[in-house]
């Protein structure tokens, strides 16, 4: 495993030479199986709770119902591709509301940035699906094969009926979980009870089988056999976080100022002139990434804090204060190592303030947008070809298409008013309004209608702008669109 230990340039020596170049096979490392030991303590408990909540939400959410009225799906969270709608409890999004999804993703990444600069990689350590499902799979593995030492013994042991039974049992349960995971995914895209029943009778759409199958396999392999390889080699996040975290972020840290010099200790020995680390290796044994936290900040470390639990347990046994490994900042540890008192940890820093302010701004903008979201939407598309035509009487005509969206569940009548053009007149293809200023346009429930509008004005009209106002006859809800009116340059 690569480590990011500091290079001391002052002790530069010529590199040793004369060594054999490594054989081809040595350029590729065989994966070493990691046997994480079960930790006990505060952080292990938190991780069990987080696992229960996140998995509970993932598996349970599609079954939550939310009444929206007749003819509309009553599933609380549903991405309904067939009718091109996304439902999230009281929020209903249409394809043209895609910017809310973009906003949500931006918020999510900002939250990730903020949390990383405050608490390091807590996302990786507690909530990342890779971590959660791997943790679950290790729990199953432990149930069938025992804890670390037992598992290591079992893997070395010859293939007996006992070993085969245990291994088969483990993989069978893994596959069931994987299938359940892949199956739960498709529930978000269809009516959950219907697609769940249809899946087994062969009535579900083909994509449902594909995605259930793909996610079953990825869950099984990523959480069962690939595990830490995903984080170290496949995930971009460990690389990105290098740019987001700093020496003031609270990370899982080995306090070398207190621990060194380390070494095994007999009861009779004194604690004077030595560090608190007794080199018991418990922190390494519980690590799901198979690293040694005492080597410092490392790419592989997902900051799951299990080494804190392991070390605290030992510190209690040897009657030393807890927290030899703890959430701490690099700057504080370095200060104590110099014999100084570290300044109090600062949560409010320019970096965190900027993230928080930007999040607040985007969040309020989205909330405001959602709260005032209109149920009508009018868009004017001006003809680009031809941009205008000259009529035989010398007047100028421009063509427009009005796209009218009714997001309400009942049909409505909209009043169209075209204004702002001096001496202008308009007509709508296929409709008769006998020179009246406004025109009634019917729109179906959930309808998207297009109306073709022709606007005529004198070639000398001064202000070449035309305003299309669409107003709901019943509620007065209004959408105003301003477009240009083109003619030959004067």
């Amino acid at each position: 495993m690569a480590s990011t230990t500091l290079i001391d340039h002052t002790s530069e020596l010529p590199a040793q030479s004369g060594g054999e170049p490594p054989r081809h096979e040595d350029l590729y490392a065989k994966r070493k199986q990691i046997y994480p030991k079960l930790a006990h303590g505060k952080f292990r408990t938190i991780k069990w709770l987080v696992m229960a909540v996140t998995l509970g939400v993932y598996y349970g959410l599609p079954w939550v119902r939310w009444d929206r009225g007749d003819g509309i799906p009553d599933q609380a969270v549903l991405a309904d591709f067939s009718s091109e709608k996304f439902y999230f409890f009281f929020i209903e999004l249409w394809p043209q509301d895609i910017h809310y999804m973009a906003g949500g993703l931006i918020l999510a990444s900002l939250l990730l940035f903020l949390v990383t600069s405050l608490l390091g990689r807590v996302w990786c350590g507690y909530t990342c699906p890779q971590t959660v499902w791997t943790d679950l799979y290790i729990w199953v593995e432990r149930a069938f094969e025992g804890d670390r030492a037992a598992r290591m013994r079992l893997d070395k042991a010859p293939w007996t009926a006992n070993k085969i039974t245990r291994k088969l049992g483990k993989h069978a349960v893994w596959l069931v979980i994987a299938f359940w995971t892949g199956g739960a995914f498709i529930l978000y895209w269809h009516d959950a009870p219907t697609v769940a029943a249809g899946w087994f009778t062969g009535d579900a759409p083909l994509t449902a089988y594909w995605f259930a199958g793909i996610l079953t396999l990825t869950t099984y392999f990523l959480a069962g056999t690939m595990r830490e390889q995903v984080c170290t080699y496949m995930c971009p996040w460990p690389r990105i976080q290098g740019a987001l975290t700093d020496e003031q972020a609270l990370n899982v840290t080995y306090r070398y100022d207190r621990g060194e010099p380390r070494g095994p200790k007999r009861k009779s020995e004194s604690w004077d002139d030595r560090g608190d680390c007794i080199d018991c290796n418990q922190c390494v044994q519980v690590c799901p990434m198979g690293i040694d936290i005492r080597e410092g900040e490392q790419l592989e470390c997902i900051h799951c804090a299990l080494c804190i639990d392991a070390c605290d347990e030992i510190m209690v046994k040897v009657d030393r204060p807890k927290g030899l490994i703890a959430y701490d900042t690099q700057i504080a540890v370095a200060a104590r190592n110099e014999g100084l008192t570290p300044t109090k940890h600062k949560l409010v820093r320019p970096r965190t303030v900027v993230y928080a302010v930007v999040m607040l701004a985007i969040g309020s903008l989205m909330a405001w947008g959602l709260a005032t979201k209109s149920t009508i939407e009018a868009n004017i598309l001006k003809d680009r070809s031809p941009p205008f035509v000259t009529l035989s009487n010398g007047r100028i005509q421009n063509g427009y298409t009005l796209k009218l969206v009714n997001k309400a569940s009942e049909p409505r009548t909209m009043l169209l008013d075209v204004s702002g053009l001096e001496g202008g007149a308009f007509r709508v293809i296929g409709m008769d309004h006998e020179g009246s200023d406004t025109l009634e346009l019917p729109v179906e429930a959930f309808g998207v209608d297009r109306y073709r509008i022709l606007v005529v004005a004198d070639a000398t009209v001064p202000r070449r702008q035309v305003t299309f106002t669409v107003r709901d006859a019943a509620t007065g809800e209004t959408d105003v669109n301003i477009s240009s009116f083109r003619g030959a340059e004067q």
Partner: protein, 294 residues
């Protein structure tokens, strides 16, 4: 391998690959071995793919490209998809067959369907000459304005689409022929020039009153039978109005002279046997909606 045979970098304590460029060495942080296996698998997959799918192009001496065991052809797939699309569209466009053009234009559902279908068919078949949105070009009438040579009503537009203009093989085609007055020796060059001034004067643009006076009897004799005594044209013969600002072949003096001298008789194909009924009706409604429909 023992440690003695390894080349260890003193700074980082990491083994090097043993490669050296001007004394710069490369650390060996080994890739996971499964990564290497994934690469081998992709090579194996490439071989399978080459056997199953068309893979090697028609190199000299090979004759044709390899077809692959699956016999896959993108060309065939596209043709199949296009015909499936046509079947699906035909099933929908059937609603246009039973409805009259008037009904199609005023019924919201039928209109939206016809405009979408008409726009697409217009783009494929008509826009080459008439331009996108029917903007027109020199020699190709604009369909978005209110000037019509033959007929701007829904039925008239449909008739023109079906039978074309001066289309040899269609008995119902719209037909008229302007003589080439100069080229065929019907008028002298000077008379053609005078007539051009007369035509310019119809839209108030001539500055040679004597030429206009000289040409007046010629116009009445040669031109008025089609273009009308006052030059406002005659739609039954497709004879354009000469008094307005619209000029299909250009309105400058030289353009008008050339038109009188050589005549202009352009063609539009009949689409009756090229497009199905529903498509023709959809195009008619679409053209009618462009801006000048009557």
């Amino acid at each position: 391998m023992t440690d003695e045979t390894k080349d260890i970098d003193t700074h980082s304590g990491v083994e090097t690959t043993g490669h050296s460029w001007d004394g710069i060495k490369e650390l060996n942080n080994p890739l996971p071995r499964w990564w290497l296996y994934v690469w081998y698998i992709s090579i194996a997959w490439a071989i399978v793919y080459m056997i199953l799918m068309p893979a090697i192009p028609a190199l000299p001496g090979l004759g044709t490209n390899t077809k692959g065991l699956r016999g896959h052809s993108d060309r065939v797939e596209v043709a199949k998809a296009v015909s499936e699309l046509k079947t699906a569209r035909d099933a929908q466009s059937i609603v246009l067959l039973d409805a009259g053009l008037e009904k199609i234009e005023t019924d919201r559902t039928l209109q939206q369907f016809a405009l979408a279908m008409g726009e697409s068919a217009f783009g494929d078949n008509c826009a080459t000459c008439h331009g996108a949105g029917g903007r027109g070009a020199i020699g190709y009438p604009a369909l978005a304005d209110d000037v019509w040579l033959w007929d701007g009503s829904l039925d008239g537009i449909e008739y023109t689409i079906r039978h074309g203009i001066r289309h040899d093989t269609d008995d119902g085609t719209r037909f008229s022929a302007m003589p080439a007055f100069g080229r065929d020796g019907l008028l002298k060059r000077s008379e053609v020039d005078d007539l051009a001034q007369y035509v310019l004067n119809l839209s108030g643009r001539s500055d040679e009153p004597e030429a206009v006076l000289r040409a007046a009897p010629i116009f009445q004799q040669q031109c008025a039978s089609c273009h009308g005594a006052d030059g406002t044209g005659d739609r039954t013969q497709g004879a354009p109005n000469l008094t307005d600002a619209e000029w299909l072949y250009g309105g400058r003096e030289a353009d008008i002279e050339a038109t009188i001298y050589n005549a202009r008789n352009s063609h539009m194909p009949a689409w009756d046997d090229r497009l199905d009924d529903a498509t023709i009706k959809a195009i008619a409604v679409y053209v009618h909606s462009l801006g000048g429909g009557e």
